[in-house]
Amino acid sequence: MTEELRRTASPSALLGTAGPFGEGAPAGSAEEIERLHQRGRFLDDLAGVVSTVHHPARAVEMMTALLAEHVVEFAQVVLHTHQGWVAAGQAAGHRPVDSGGYRVGRLQAQVLTELLSRQRPEHWLLPPDTPERATMLASLFGTSELVGQLDALDAVGILSLPLLARGRAIGLVTLARGERRDLSADDVAFLEDAARRMAVALDACVVVSDNRFVAATLRSSLVPPPVPTSSGLDVASYSRVAQEEVAVGGDFIDVHGPDGDKTILLGDAVGKGVVAAIAAKRIRAAVRTASLVDRDPAWVLGLTNKVLVAEAESAIESFATGVCARARTGADGVVALEITNAGHPPPIILRRDGRLEYVESHGPALGVFDDASYTSTHHRLAPGDTLVCYTDGVTEARGRADMFGEDGIAAALAGLGGAPSSAIVERLAMSVSAFVGDAAHDRDDTAIVAVQPLATGLA
């Protein structure tokens, strides 16, 4: 059956069924005045949609609703995006079939694609109860409830207009009047103009949404995957980027490795925004790869450094600092730490009794010297002890007169010995935020990670 349908469903097979457009209502009649009034409302509201709605699906829905409320009795708008088809339809007196529930099927997509490629208006007269009508409606509206609604409206003339932007057809708007009325030539001229405006706006929505999609994909690749509780560690993290518009930055956090033997990485690639985020991603990948061979953090950062130096076009571009820690959980619940520092602010161990220890392990920054070598220091985390790593967005956060600094950290962590990791991260992040105030413009990327042996009751 599908083969059959596809063949006869081809719009070209049905072309030529269109008749001439009807006459409009006589000039000056009450009906005509009301119609002009409605068109005015439509254009006003459309301008509102165009300036406020930047999400393709929402824009498609709103445009459909405006058309069906003010101009015609039935409207469908479909838009082709990189993420697939976005469609909405509405018949007067019915609930909209919105993009949440409207899935464009495969056959329907074929027909829509063919119509798009024609890049020109199409007009069909489809008398009730004819096989042509059934096929055509199925091609245009798939199996959605819109078909039934159109039948109920007793719509005969159907107009489809391409949405043309930058020389391409990006979508299609399909319209009909009820009660066997057809669209007049004047209606068509008006709707073509409306379609032009809609197309430009929808095109902009698609561009915005594609950009967001790229940024969101990148961002999600930078967020540390959640650590399963079976790993024996309680890990919490926080990160906030300086350039929130692009939603990504150069600070990075990663936690990986088999249960009971985890690698914790936190660092800061030079710069801000997308460029820094790409550099950060590369470092994370290098660390993960190196860790597959040997989990010794000094060796891991040494190899990562070589990769960065070898790949970099310039030292400025590859410069980064970071801390890499290997955390092995013993049978007694105590975590043995090996920590390597590559030019990064010193991590802190917050002991359960509240004492702070700075981890003084120093090595050169990453991506500068080809022959840099690293060492690691050894520490123990008993239950209730916490390792806290952070980027300079914390210590160098600028307040009114001075920087947050290590004093700020000490003040924020006071009394938190033995607290869960998330309390420690949250309190530190909150303190930095309060310290900085609203001066968001000179904020740096900020990242914090806290790790402690998983508490199973510290009574």
Binding site: V53, M62, G418, A429, A434, T456, G457, A459
Partner: protein, 331 residues
């Protein structure tokens, strides 16, 4: 060991025992106790108790924070557990999400998290963004998720100014905004003045509110009346006003140093609340904060001159703001 679950939960929370707290809560859920009951009976009750212990000076802020982190972990687990149960019965629709956020600088994340869990329990798809959500981050999420509505949570009256920013951000892309949390009055007067599309006094009341929400709303533009302009100016000067006022309180107050610090810590919140009162035209905010500050002082055996010192330091900074001065003087 078979004690009342609420007591066992409290015992676990108060000794930072996430493991035990989680197991008390998730086993109730598995036994079929509805999510809202678990949340209210265990988590809500514990949080209120934490608040009292801090107010009465029995607990430090750090301890309050640590215990709340345990509750947060628990609610996180409850949401995961619920998602697993829901995935099993497959009845959840691919609805447009509800976006749940805290106002910017609002770090009370738990109320918004509890709200998210309750909404998910009722079958809604929720995207929860957590504490301290900047307007830019909100805008990004609005573009990416195209939510049905944005739900903004605020616990602090000093967050009301930031709530307004979220209202402006969401409505500028036609998305309806529902506000709630302990920053608001029960009748929703503050919410109305902030231009929110709707207000719900509790998560339970929210269902009918959501059903009545419009799909699209008109943009809510920036406020330009004198009181609002004062509120914005105060917020812009908040760090310096606070620093100066805190310095005065430290030098003027007679109480012991720890008590003075506890009271001085509230100064930014006091300024922010005055701004919130200006923006909403609701003077009861200032009355509430006065009472709260007195309570903090009393519990720390500070005589009234210390809280008095706060108010005179605040007044000094507000010299150029007639509406704000009016509010503070007639409190």
């Amino acid at each position: 060991m078979t004690a009342d679950p609420a007591e066992r939960y409290w015992a676990a929370v108060s000794r930072n025992d996430t493991h035990e707290a989680r197991s008390v809560a998730t086993s109730l859920l598995r036994e079929g106790v509805p999510m809202p009951t678990v949340l209210e009976g265990l988590v809500g009750a514990a949080q209120r108790r934490i608040g009292e212990l801090w107010a009465s000076n029995d607990w430090s802020v750090a301890r309050e924070h640590a215990a709340t982190a345990v509750s947060e972990q628990v609610v996180r687990s409850l949401r995961e557990e619920q998602a697993r149960l829901a995935a099993a019965d497959r009845s959840v629709g691919a609805d447009r999400p509800l976006l749940v956020v805290c106002a910017e600088r609002e770090w009370h994340a738990l109320p918004a998290m509890m709200l998210s869990a309750t909404l998910e329990h009722a079958g809604h798809t929720v995207q929860y963004l957590g504490a301290d959500v900047s307007t830019t981050a909100l805008q990004g999420a609005l573009l990416e998720a195209a939510p049905r509505a944005a739900l903004v949570s605020a616990s602090l009256s000093s967050s009301l100014v930031y709530v307004r920013r979220h209202v402006e951000a969401a409505t500028s892309v036609a998305v309806p905004v529902v506000v709630g949390g302990s920053a608001f009055d029960r009748d929703g007067v503050r919410a109305l003045r902030l231009g929110a599309t709707a207000f719900a006094a509790s998560a339970a009341d929210l269902e009918s509110t959501l059903a009545a929400l419009p799909t699209y709303v008109e943009p809510v533009g920036p406020l330009r009346d004198d009181a609002a302009l004062e509120a914005y100016a105060i917020m812009a000067e908040l760090p310096s006003f606070s620093a100066d006022a805190v310095a005065r309180v430290r030098s003027d107050a007679a109480a012991d140093a720890v008590a003075v610090e506890a009271i001085a810590d509230q100064v930014p919140h006091v300024f922010g609340s005055v701004a919130g009162a200006l923006l909403t035209g609701d003077s009861t905010i200032v009355a509430e904060i006065t009472e709260w500050l007195d309570g903090v002082g009393r519990a720390r055996a500070a005589d009234t001159t210390t809280t008095q010192a706060v108010w005179s330091a605040v007044e000094r900074q507000l010299g150029e703001f007639p509406h704000a001065l009016d509010l503070v003087r007639s409190r």
